[in-house]
Subunit: 283 residues, 2 copies
Amino acid sequence: MEDGFKVVSIIGVGLIGGSLALALKQRNLTNKIIGYGRNEERLKEALKLGIIDSYTTEIREASQAELIVLATPTSVFERIINEMLQFLKNGTIIIDVGSVKESIVNTFERILPKGILFVGTHPIAGSDKTGFENAKGDLFKNARVIITPTENTDKTALEKVSKLWQQIGAQVEFMTAEFHDKIYALVSHLPHLISFCMVNTVADINKNFIKYAGTGFKDSTRIAKSSAEVWRDIFIMNDKNIFQCLEVFTENLERIKKILSQKDLEGVNQFIEKANKLRQEID
Amino acid sequence: MEDGFKVVSIIGVGLIGGSLALALKQRNLTNKIIGYGRNEERLKEALKLGIIDSYTTEIREASQAELIVLATPTSVFERIINEMLQFLKNGTIIIDVGSVKESIVNTFERILPKGILFVGTHPIAGSDKTGFENAKGDLFKNARVIITPTENTDKTALEKVSKLWQQIGAQVEFMTAEFHDKIYALVSHLPHLISFCMVNTVADINKNFIKYAGTGFKDSTRIAKSSAEVWRDIFIMNDKNIFQCLEVFTENLERIKKILSQKDLEGVNQFIEKANKLRQEID
């Protein structure tokens, strides 16, 4: 091992935490991965599958690594860091992999003492699948990873963290946490919110109708299977940006409703073609 | 050929019309497939690919088949049938493959003279892909096909049409056109409408953000690539049912917005888990 970190603690060994553990081991970027979690049985299982090298439910032990990765639902971050504070060694690097950045980055900068080096990161590699059973060592290959440094971010830590993500195949991009949250409110958080609403609309009208769903419904609501724990936190932590997007979405609903009420064929056509055009750009 | 129809006219040789043509030929359920359309170049191409056996842009010629399949955008059906009327032979069976049924079935029953036998059908096998280039002979294998007979539907024609769909692998199910339109407003038309609105929301806020979209966004908006021509007609012909679904959808948006505003973690959790549970039923 030339690069990397001797010991890495993964706090929350799920899909993302587990995949990162596998990727680091496969690229020989660490000597030891410690898995930390609340459920010892699950950790034992992850150890048995070779995803982690050891496990602990003791926060003291998890705090001894050179790199600590927070990969639990985001609402737990603050509590965990507060519990870790007394055990952290000077020079320890902490990253998170949460889908919301501004409130997390702000919280960490407020709480963490000088000498503990935090870098906010967001790998765009989620899935409706959860748990380390679905973890893959190549999950981050060609995936975008957004890193959100601030003026307080330690330059050396930032470089080490960026390099680590790149070494496991990710395309690293830097932006402010604020800008990140605006982008992902629109292209990720809102679509999830809408997808949950779509499925609940079926539940409210007649849940038996769902058996008639074709591939269109299935694809467009696949993300409605996503973890409640994870998305609950994202929605609450990025609510203001999501509400702004929701306003424009609601305007679009009103617009198409009006056009349809007027039986305006050409108007409907233009509305759909506008969507066709932009959506085709990302194929 | 024991079963089937000697000559079949496909009016509109696109994804569905073309796939049906291929399926009928592969199962030896017809001696000849005539493709009818407005664009001769396209018909020549379909002939060259072996999807149809001959083509015509003459409505008279297309009207001579034993089975006529309407597979154009639904708004064109009425005009085409009116043009065909003077040429149709007694005993001719006409089916459509439109995604809306009530208004179509009503129109056909009003227009068609006794002796011309109409059966409304809807194969649940659409795609965002369009055109006969994407046609597949097994598109209807294990696909659901809804057939919507009325008290006026000819029993023999109904039997022949049902058998035809079954012979190419479809799961046939009967229901009223009215009930069909309620179900598909919810599980197909509304999701398409929402998907167009979602992509247009990105267009309105900042279309450059779309490059940050991950698989969640891509899957949930795949149907936003669907044909404007086809979906324009579906929305307008089934607007009342779609509006009813949209009302419940909007209530759900308001509900989650309220829960989020109250930072009600448990409420958000329940909202998401409700969606998780129903969506998991169709995997």
